[in-house]
């Protein structure tokens, strides 16, 4: 979803923020790579290639940050959908956390119900029906028909 139609800015721009964040990641990788055997130029060790990649990342990130052609300001990014996005991510995180404990069907039902009832404020009957259909339907399709192993959880559901 490109948003570069905004007027260019010369202060704290999107490219500058992104470039500097990537430089920080590159520095972290360099730090961690240095803990691995680097070997020599002719006989590289396990840390050599990650180190080279991190240096390349840092160079391209610096180019992005400091040879910025005047991209829109960092503050011009609209975050209107962010609360909803956070809710969706929370549902995904819940699924990861609960799937092997509660079982696939209960977890998916709870996640889908949360998205439709709490996040989207849909009427209870269609929302719960859709959640039930999604959890039971996908389980039947994948676990029963296609024999993909899905977790049953502590209660075997």
């Amino acid at each position: 979803m490109p948003q570069s139609s905004q007027p260019p800015s010369h202060g704290l721009t999107r490219n500058r923020v992104a470039g500097l964040a990537l430089v920080a990641i590159a520095v972290g990788i360099i730090w961690e790579s240095s803990k691995l055997p680097l070997g020599s130029l002719g006989n590289p060790g396990a840390g050599f290639v990650p180190l080279v990649i991190a240096v390349a990342l840092a160079v391209f990130a610096l180019l992005t940050a400091f040879l910025d052609k005047g991209t829109p300001a960092w503050r011009s990014i609209a975050w209107a959908e962010a609360p909803r996005a956070a809710g969706i991510l929370a549902a995904g995180a819940f699924a990861a956390l609960a799937m092997e404990r509660l079982g696939y069907r209960i977890t998916i039902f709870a996640s889908a119900a949360f998205l439709l009832l709490v996040l989207e404020r849909k009427p209870p009957l269609p929302a719960l029906s859709a959640a039930l259909l999604l959890s039971a339907g996908t389980y039947y399709l994948f676990a029963t028909l296609l024999r993909v192993p899905l977790p049953l959880g502590r209660w075997g559901v």
Binding site: Q3, N15, A18, G92, A96, E100, A112, L115, L116, E120
Partner: protein, 505 residues
Amino acid sequence: MVETLHNLALGFSVALQPSVLAYAVLGCMVGTIVGMLPGLGPLAGISLLLPATFGLTPTTAIVLLAGIYYGAMYGGSTTSILMRIPGEAASVMTCIDGYAMTQKGRAGAALAIAAFSSFAAGSVSLVALTLVAPPLAGIALKFGPPEYFGLLTMGLIVLAYMSGGSMPKTLSMAALGLFLGTIGIDQMSGFLRFQYGIIELGDGIGVVPVAVGLLGLSEVLLVAGSGAPAGIKAPRLGELLPSRAEARQAIGPTARGTVLGFLIGLIPGSAHIIASFVSYGLERRLSNKPEEFGRGAVAGVAGPEAANNAAACGAFVPMLALGVPSGPITAVMIAALLVHGVAPGPLMISEQPALFWGFIASMYVGNVVLLALNLPMVGLLVQMLRIPYPYLYTGIIVFCVLGVYAVNQSVVEVWIMVASGLAGYLLRKLDFEVAPVVLGLVLAPMLEMSLRQSLAMSGGSYWILYDHAIARSLLIGALVLLALGLRPFLMRRADWRTHLEQDGL
């Protein structure tokens, strides 16, 4: 030639078996739906349905996934033309003139032109694929680690050069992907890298959770809260025929789009997306009436549609002949074949002829199936888009979680998907392209291994990359492209990317 025809006959004997044919039809239909739904492109669709192929034979699995791929290419154009919603990225260009034709009451003609251009391009490209892949595989048998290193480096640079965005940004994303690809056990020394006690990371980060998170989940996060799509009026069957003048106008762009798309498809990168952009630009430049572009020009539909379908076909050449993914989609398909114990590459043609030629033949069949099934079913298919978006995206999230978990039955993969979704969301807010991350992730092990094997072969001398003619040519080509791509950026001059941006493309 006779041998090729003989092999193709073997392929058709496999592809026309009822079970294989059924999966080809199923793949085309699922792909069409995947392509129509905003937020689910071919990559996300293939990734999500990958676990469903585990119970199939290798042939039916690859036939199903290929059907989804080119079905999605086709399906994306339907919503682009009728609703100005590109179901997948390659259909963005079709939106411009396709939707303008719909507003002029020529929706049926636009759909038919898109379908026939796609069909023609797909068919011609398949003939090219049939003829090019086997000899290329023969050449690839002579490739050693230096040549593979040159090829993969060239692929990454070409991707960055051809992408519409800033070259340093694309390269930084590719570097990020390459780093992710180094996580896990080092295949040459056995050292565990960046594992931090998480046992599942020992095998590395999987392509599927990263691809689904970066491309599928991030799309849902970005469009969450947006309203329902605008109302649509699907054309009747009788309205699907273009006029004679429109058909004539479509021939040239279709032919040019086919050649251009197939050639671009051979180059690693998001070929089908690039091909449709380049084709649109070419048609507008060649047109006697460039002012018609954006107002319903037939060439603006025929060219990009032919190009993206031809590129989808061309992308199979490096995958089948060299075992090298030409993009994230073919990377996931390679992963699918590996799950079934089949390694794509030069030896696949000689060791698995029924699989290779059956796959090629199934694409011929799929092309016909798409044309025969989808045009009459346009009205039915677009009804799916009436599902309220909250219900639709909830379903997509469920499929994301299910698809990612089922690959290795690991919740760590679901966590990786959630983290990738968040990263993709933030990166796309900052105008980064995320597909190079996936490509970098796929290419990293091959790139590292080919470099280190080259050095082992030469006793630690980097001159081996210069001494081998193919590797040298590829690396020099990569350096030239890198310099050309970075020059306007460093000199702060406008280049073709800036012009594309200024033109609103």
